[in-house]
Point group: C2
Chain length 298, copies 2
């Protein structure tokens, strides 16, 4: 496969896109912009029209798309859909790499990897972590797992879509990290929304708060790294304050929230977990020890 040369991207590489929903469309447009002529397929062929009008080629069947592509990017909804699409397709996959961006479980990714190996197509499991809007943005994050040498082959083309982070050979790593990062991001957002409600209750501009909150995430990053080490070692130093101190502070957030007429579900959840940790005898430990309450030992 001549997907890329050591000099960079070989513009003769052909990119096929399976599924032209919002993600597939964004991906196709980025490759068009970068000077490629993608081949697009969609279950409802008419939905590819904006892309073919803009210069992409139409594949009328999945097998036509795969035959045309060196790099095949699937942006259909699920592993089931993709398996169904590929099941009865007769193709020579030799030298082709299929990159599949859909959400699912590690088990589904691994099972799909086994299935696709039977088609003689090289596989990379992928996830777009920064949403459709940031496709093509160098700061947008994409995750990949599968054979490293195949990732290296595809990387020059994948970097056109955004930051390309390789996780390891196990296909299951991408869905696992996808779920974990989604959960982490929602924690940050939920905290930000509750904080914004507190700020807004005093008629302060939430845009000003967002600036300061953004300036505070490097602190959060340093806690992630320190607390990961603590979690890995199963020992929780309390230099960022112990569970007991944080439980009291979070109870205070609950009280202030209620005073302001806000629903306190979010700080209540955290104070509940901190209180459970206290009851479990972890009150003097660092706050990362609350992971023991999530791990459900009891």
């Amino acid at each position: 496969m001549s997907m890329a040369t050591s000099q960079g991207t070989n513009k003769k590489s052909r990119i096929a896109i399976l599924g032209t929903g919002v993600m597939g469309t964004a991906i196709t447009q980025i490759y068009q912009k970068a000077g490629y002529k993608p081949v697009v397929w969609n279950r409802t062929l008419s939905k590819t029209k904006p892309l073919t009008d803009a210069g992409s080629d139409l594949a009328t069947t999945v097998s036509e798309a795969i035959t045309a592509g060196d790099l095949i990017i699937s942006a259909v909804a699920s592993y089931e859909n993709l398996t169904e699409m590929l099941k009865n397709v007769q193709i020579s996959g030799q030298g082709k790499i299929l990159v599949n961006i859909c959400s699912g479980t590690p088990e589904q990714a691994r099972a799909f990897g086994t299935f696709i190996a039977s088609k003689n197509i090289t596989y990379l499991d992928a996830a777009a972590m920064s949403g459709v809007k940031r496709v093509g943005d160098p700061e947008g994050l994409f995750l990949y797992s599968g054979d490293y040498s195949n990732f290296m082959k595809a990387e020059p083309l994948l970097k056109i879509l955004g930051k390309a982070k390789y996780l390891g050979s196990d296909y299951g790593l991408t869905p696992l990290y996808d779920t974990a990062l989604f959960t982490m991001a929602w924690g940050g957002l939920m905290g930000f929304y509750h904080a914004s409600a507190l700020i807004a209750s005093e008629n302060i501009d939430v845009n000003d708060f967002a600036q300061i909150a953004s300036g505070h995430t490097p602190f959060l990053n340093s806690l992630f790294k320190e607390h990961a080490r603590a979690i890995g070692e199963g020992k929780y130093p309390n230099e960022d304050g112990n569970v007991e101190v944080h439980a009291a502070a979070m109870q205070y957030v609950v009280d202030v929230s209620r005073d302001k007429g806000l629903k306190a579900d979010f700080p209540l959840l955290i104070s509940g977990i901190l209180n459970k940790s206290k009851e479990a005898g972890l009150g003097g430990n660092g706050i990362a020890s609350v992971i023991e309450m999530i791990k459900n030992h009891g």
Copy 2:
């Protein structure tokens, strides 16, 4: 007051520290390290010994400390404690600035501001946002509110403690931001802990995950800024996915967490709020619209 010159910090400024618990001790040590000779006071005088042994001067009364100090930093536990300490003190506060680092409500900060004005002492309300460990670290964040010209006078000395962020003249801004940033940070941590539990359930190193999670916070920052704009305008564009799509994805996190034997309280809380938003007819809106569920209109 000759606290600082336009050339920088005037080493002749005298710093008084009220309360030498962990925070007051860390602050005193940083000023000692920077070449100052602080004056320290603590309710239990013997607790100042490590600091006076290291070269700080002892004030045996609060009034002695305030008389000695140009900049007085209080690190006692509460507004009540500080008010009690100062109530019967006869001092000439002219030209002195009191910086008070304690947690409390905006109302307490404002009431304390009124009280301290009667003592003729200029006041800045303060909060240490990055914990004791990062006192003296240029990346450690301190918040201040009060009269801007007084903040400017004190700033060269305050910058020795860390990043000095001025919020505005209303004393209540510091406690409000303190509570909001604490809530935001706990959201990020809770998300990170749950995510780490998912990662650990597949025997993947959480330190590797922390690296990738840290690399993902610039994305979170851009969401903070965009969603703050949406919250400010009360219009929620769904370009990061709508409430309905996120509700389904969060239900999936709940399911995976349970499959892995984890307690799903955290993803359940978020999926509950997303589902309430859906029921309230906000399913097609952007996810920042969940703030309407916190604002308790129903």
